[in-house]
């Protein structure tokens, strides 16, 4: 019973947060200066009539919401308009039907754009995350086990350096190194590959993934390593480890059966939160390697005041972060039974 109530509480809180994000998203972008109908274009060939026609097409001629004609500049309008004929409620209505509307910049459906981009980002950062976790955790365990030796010091130094390197700088260095060694440096596939067998295509994508994934892994493994090391050192100093040692268990058995499970707890939080941010993409890596992911799309949409794409992307990122936090909470209650009762 308690468990259900805990779960229900967490889920309803998550839903409430998502609703808040949806509403905030709408108003946030409309406070930005600039007119999406012109998208920063200043050209006499774009006549007043053209701009007006574009505004009507995107529904930008309608009031933002009752009493507000526009938010930047703030223009008070009539409060007596039909709420269903305001931009806000049209947006909410469409969203409820799963329609994220049409991009102002490319005139394509936002859901179509985002699903393409999301997939690109997930395979890139997903691979990077898994590698970073694996390498980081292994390094961390190794360091804790060999604590206060030259080896520990060396791997600690490597991790600290890796964690503090600016991502874009490392990316650029690897890009130059890679291009001199015949690695592709831009995009996620060689254009013109779609007529080749599927396996060749996947190999091609893997080649393109190599440099950005390596960048991601190097930068993020440091974080995992440091947390794993300190958490494991904490556990190793506990009395029950001493008992295990006294019983004559091997180091391997101590780590496997007694220490690691307990040391993983803080790591679960970090991994879950990072997985959520994964969806947002790593803008710097995507930019350096011209990777057509969600992060790059968001930046571009922002520059063009492409509200529908921005709203969609932010919603996606917010949902991912909230969901992964929810997952972390649930995983916690499973790993550590004390959490439920609080």
């Amino acid at each position: 019973m308690k468990r259900w109530r805990y779960l229900l509480g967490k889920i309803s809180w998550a839903l409430f947060t998502i609703l808040f994000v949806i509403i905030l998203n709408f108003f946030l972008f409309r406070i930005l200066p600039g007119d999406p109908a012109r998208a920063g274009v200043r050209d006499p060939r774009l006549t007043k009539e053209n701009i007006e026609a574009i505004r009507v097409r995107y529904g930008l001629d309608k009031p933002i919401i009752n009493c507000f004609e526009s938010l930047n500049p703030v223009k008070i309008g009539s409060c007596a308009v039909n709420p269903l004929d305001t931009q806000f409620f049209i947006y909410m209505g469409n969203l409820l039907q799963g329609d994220m509307m049409i991009s102002f910049h490319t005139n394509r459906p936002v859901t179509e754009i985002l699903s393409e981009r999301l997939w690109n980002t997930v395979i890139l950062i997903g691979a990077g995350q898994i590698l970073a976790i694996l390498v980081g955790v292994l390094f961390g365990m190794f360091s804790a086990w060999k604590a206060r030796t030259a080896l520990d010091f060396a791997s600690l130094t490597i991790s600290l350096v890796a964690w503090s390197i600016p991502t874009f700088w490392l990316g650029v260095i690897l890009l130059f190194w890679g291009s001199n060694n015949g690695m592709p440096i831009a995009g996620m596939s060689t254009p013109g590959m779609s007529s080749y067998p599927l396996l060749t295509q996947w190999g091609d994508i893997a080649r393109h993934m190599f440099l950005p994934t390596l960048t991601y892994t190097i930068v993020y493994m440091g974080e995992y390593m440091l947390i794993m090391r300190s958490s494991l050192l904490d556990v190793l100093s506990e009395d029950y480890i001493l008992t295990a040692k006294a019983k004559g268990l091997s180091i391997f058995q101590i780590l496997k059966d007694h220490a690691i499970k307990n040391a993983m707890l803080p790591l679960v939080t970090i991994i879950a939160i990072n997985l959520g941010f994964t969806v947002g993409g790593v803008i710097q890596i995507e930019t350096v390697f011209s990777w057509p992911g969600l992060g790059m799309t968001t930046v571009e949409a922002l520059n063009r005041r492409d509200f529908p794409v921005l709203q969609g992307a932010f919603l996606l990122i917010a949902v991912a972060v909230i969901l992964s936090n929810l997952l972390a909470d649930l995983a916690y209650s499973y790993l550590d039974p004390r959490v439920k009762t609080e």
Partner: protein, 548 residues
């Protein structure tokens, strides 16, 4: 364990690089790197120049634009116009085919022109139909255009009005479906046809060997998008691309030292003008009904001040520092890249700080309180100008710093501020809520566009950004807009440039050049002999062939 991890990484790298080796027997592919991507493949809704580059390859239109700025006939064989210049009759070539094998007829042309005209939500192309009253296709090979006014530049109106296949577009001709039509199939008649398109990744084109005039010699052309220009340079060096359409000036020297790479610079295909905008709007011209605030510094309404600032501006230094030399000193909004229309007889104001100081002294702008900044002749207000520029500009911050130093020499102080481009538009015009803005224009092939920007009629619309108003200039503008004789029109256009220059409407620091580079060991035949450089234009891409 650590070593093992390294081995695994190395092994992975080896396996991955082995996967990529492809067999031979493939078509000859030209790989082009650029730092952009089309916004859409729909000619009606497109705004970005990258989209127009692709349209120029896939579609044909009535005229072709040559690299020397002249026009020649495209799908038309011949043209005649009535004595009053209102009716144009085109004979269309026979046997022109769309990429899907269907014949192209005058009916398709009429359909396309009507489509562009009826859709006001087409941002650019719609405005090119402004003078077209009607399009008729009396038979399959004749088009009769009736204009509302006799205009001298019908070529530059029709050149971007691409011919679309009616049998495909007729299903997307109504309402918002037209703008939202993604046009991924992109059926045209041009020398290239689309193979595959991935937004923000690449545009993959194949040759249309059946093209009626210029079938390409290569098999395929691929435009690949790179997020930064520096990466473009690296991709060219390592041979991942054969040509790049843009690059940072800072990379030119290192790239020139590279074997098998040729770097070119020259006027861009769509000439660019960088301008220093002075808010000189007179109070009586302030467009208050359209949101005019007109808060400009009163000194800038005085030609003497603007002239003195022109003499105090060292254009060569701006070009050397900001563009590393890859630009030419500017005169007016009509850039040297327009060739025939560019008035090269105008002699630029000399850079002479002493003379500039003398001018300001003579005009009564003295520094009465000795703080190094001059005041208005009536002592009311010091000459402190707000200088703004769009925050996405790379060149403007350096330009602003240099200008600030140069103008300080003549007792003019500046307050420098980068502004979000949209916010700057709102501040600029028709609000006229600024003193000086560093901005620029992209020019049409015809001078009409940028001459219009300086007329009184464009003050309320916001396209006249200086507030300049001169009845003589306005009259000449109206005159050249209907002058059908080329030489007479040129005289009028040259005269207008002289007037604008003498009135110091702007200071034009420079016309920026475009820098492109290609690998000499891959393809040969690029068009490099013209003043304009545009290797990604159809004019070059149908000529190049692989190096033997």
């Amino acid at each position: 364990m650590k070593q093992k991890a390294l081995y695994i990484l190395l092994l992975a790298a080896l396996v991955l690089s082995a996967c990529g080796n492809l067999g031979g027997g493939q078509p000859v592919v030209v790989r082009i790197g650029w730092a952009g991507s089309p916004d859409t493949l729909n000619p009606g809704s497109a705004i970005l120049s990258e989209a127009y580059t692709i349209f120029g390859l896939v579609y044909d239109s009535m005229y072709k634009l040559n690299l020397d700025g002249t026009f020649s006939l495209g799908v038309a064989e011949s043209v005649e116009h009535s004595a009053d210049g209102l009716v144009y009759t085109y004979k269309i070539r026979e046997g022109v085919k769309f990429h899907d094998g269907q014949p192209m007829t005058a009916g398709d042309i009429k359909f396309s022109y009507d489509l562009y005209k009826t859709h006001e939500d087409f941002p650019y192309i719609n405005s090119y139909t402004a003078y077209i009253e009607s399009t008729e296709a009396p038979d399959d090979n004749t088009i009769v255009l009736t204009l509302s006014e006799a205009i001298p530049n019908i070529e530059s109106q029709l050149v971007f009005m691409y011919i679309l296949p009616e049998h495909i577009w007729k299903d997307h001709a109504e309402g918002s479906a037209t703008v939202e039509f993604e046009n991924f199939e992109m059926i045209g008649t041009g020398p290239f046809k689309i193979v595959e398109y991935k937004q923000n990744e690449f545009v993959h084109l194949g040759a249309n060997k059946e093209h009626f005039e210029t079938p390409p010699k290569v098999g395929e052309v691929i435009f690949q998008t790179f997020e930064s220009q520096d990466v473009l340079v690296q991709a060219l060096k390592s041979g991942q691309v054969d040509m790049i359409t843009e690059m940072p000036a800072t990379a030119v020297e290192t790239l020139k030292a590279e074997a098998n790479v040729k770097v070119l610079n020259g006027a861009p295909f769509a000439p660019a003008v960088s301008d220093i905008i002075f808010n000189q709007i007179a109070p009586e011209n302030c467009p208050t009904d359209d949101g005019g605030l007109c808060t400009g510094h009163p000194a800038l309404q005085d030609r003497n001040v603007r002239l003195a600032l022109a003499h105090a501006t060292n254009k060569q230094k701006l070009i050397d520092v900001v563009l590393l030399g890859y630009g030419t000193p500017g005169l007016t909004l009509i850039p040297d890249g327009l060739g025939f229309w560019y008035n090269d007889t105008i002699k630029d104001y000399e850079f002479d700080t002493a003379r500039a100081n003398q001018m300001l002294d003579d005009a009564g702008y003295a520094d009465t309180d000795g703080d190094g900044v001059r005041e208005m002749p009536d002592g009311s207000q010091p000459l402190i100008f707000r200088v703004n520029w769009p925050s996405d500009s790379i060149d403007a911050p350096r330009q602003a710093e240099l200008l600030s130093e140069m103008w300080e020499e003549v007792g003019v102080k500046t307050e420098l501020q980068a502004t979000d481009p949209d916010a700057l538009t709102a501040q600029c015009c028709p609000a006229f809520d600024f003193d000086v803005i560093l901005w620029g224009w992209g020019s049409d092939p015809d001078p009409n566009l940028l001459l219009g920007v300086q007329t009184t009629a464009e003050i309320p619309t916001g396209y006249n950004e200086t507030g300049y108003s001169n009845p003589e200039f306005d009259a000449l503008y109206d005159q050249q807009a209907v002058e059908l004789d080329l030489e007479t029109r040129k005289e009028l256009v040259w005269k207008m440039q002289e007037i604008a220059f003498n009135d110091v409407v702007y200071i034009i620091p420079y016309y920026e050049q475009s820098i492109q580079a290609y690998r000499t060991d891959k393809f040969t035949g690029w068009l490099t002999a013209f003043a304009k450089i545009e290797l990604s234009d159809v004019t070059s891409l149908v000529l190049i062939e692989p190096v033997k």
